[in-house]
Amino acid sequence: MKISQLSTFIENRSGRLRAACEALAARGINIHTLCLADSRDFGILRLIVADPPAGKAALEAAGYVAQLTDVLAVEVPDSAGGLARVLATTDGAGLDIEYMYAFSTAPGQQAVVIIRFSDPDRALAELQRRGLNVVEPVKLLQG
């Protein structure tokens, strides 16, 4: 099952990242994990939050441009070679990855990575067919 990721455009200016986080905090929206990609002048903040549509509304109300994109949360064995094997599977299926980042998990649990595929629907079908565990949003976000 796909997960809705919230993303927003942040100028490379002091205080802008904090203001975005405060806009979410003001509406009581918890951030489960995030990834900040940056270029010289700007960054793109990607967030997995408890309530993505509410998060998008909160950011827009604070003057940010925001978007929801489908990503997949893929379980990865927490051992040497775990991620390499997952990627061998996605390569084998001919799936394009735009970017990925790790989901925070407690020690001893399975690791989870958030992957933004070019074609999330095809990726979901291929990964499930090949026996990889794609984590349900409900299960992922209750922890």
Partner: protein
Amino acid sequence: MLRENWNDAGPGFHPVSSSDYLPAAQLRDLQLRRLKSIVGRAYAHVPLFRERMDARALTPASIESLADLGRLPFTVKVDLRDTYPFGLFASPMSEIVRLHASSGTTGKPIVVAYTQEDIQVWSSVMLRTFAAAGISRGDIVQNAFGYGLFTGGLGAHYGLEAIGATVVPVSGGNTDRQVMLLRDFRVNAICATPSYFLHLIERAAELGIDLRELPLRAGVFGAEPWTPAMRQRIEADAGIKAFDIYGLSEIIGPGVASECSAQNGLHVFEDHFYPEIIDPETGAVLPDGEEGELVLTTLSKRAMPMIRYRTRDITRLITVPCACGRTIRRMQRVGRRSDDMMIIHGINVFPSQIEAALLAVEGALPHYRIVLRREHGLDQMHVEIEVSPEFFSDRIGAMEALRGRIAHSIHSVTGLNVAVRLAEPHSLPRSEGKAKRVWDERQNSQ
């Protein structure tokens, strides 16, 4: 060419706009009579004009034909500042019923005056402006030009009342209320600066209101140069026909020229405002059809006659007959001003070129600004553009590609390599009147 039925006030034709259809010979005759009269009036009552004509050994009797106008000295904006506040008035204050003034962002404002007759002329040319845009009795028109010292608000207001339309005198600003009134009053037409109307379109979308679903069908836009691409965007996003109007306070305010349903050049109300095109460098009069600086002479203004006023606007006169049947000449829409020109690395650049380049890139909204800085002794142009939802992507590569496309587009239009910066929405300064596009910081930088 006279229309058969003068009482048929159909779209684009109104009995009072009959001056737009005068036979050419009759129009020239009228212009010459009025020119002789206005030069006589300026010579008699305005010391500056008299001194300048005396210095050239000219008298009002020197004007024997329209071509003789070219012998008279120019008037420029500095003349209005030098004679601040009332030095160019040709009427005593007892006959002046209205003063307007420019915002005065650079030094003293310029002050302009109107007698009761001038107000009537102004109303009549604005009436002709609205008639040309197909606005008539029964239409509800929201006037978002600023009311006050700026000529836009009251100029449009009097013309709208004269044509019998229902005016909503909302003035500029308070965009949420503008959107509400457009919807609730079922407004048919709006007057605004084009950049403010784009802002209004954007705000309406944020409020979940699609302007295309409202009865709004026409917009009368002026007070700043805008591009054909901007018009396309306004017409598509608001579902209206967008008419360009032209005017300036020094001459009368809005109402010097306006587009008709053909939307191909602006008809100059030349029975009141006589246009010439000159070479901005030499001052020589250019033949009709050639591009140059527009110079205007008020043929009937009483309180403040203006002889050969240099507008700094670059355009050309179109003499071929218009499809609408009007006989008065047209001027090409003003895309640039001779004093808007920026010189970067020896290349002449106009803000309108940057705008056209931005609009050529899919999805780029024209909320931008140009900042000129001097870096390491070299002039550098920075173009800052707000990121809008339609071209935001979560992929950094897509955003960098967008920036690259914008830079490439600007380069292909201007030949310049500019620094493009993407900015957050609503982070760039906005104006609710005339848009300020260029910030020249070269004096403050090293």
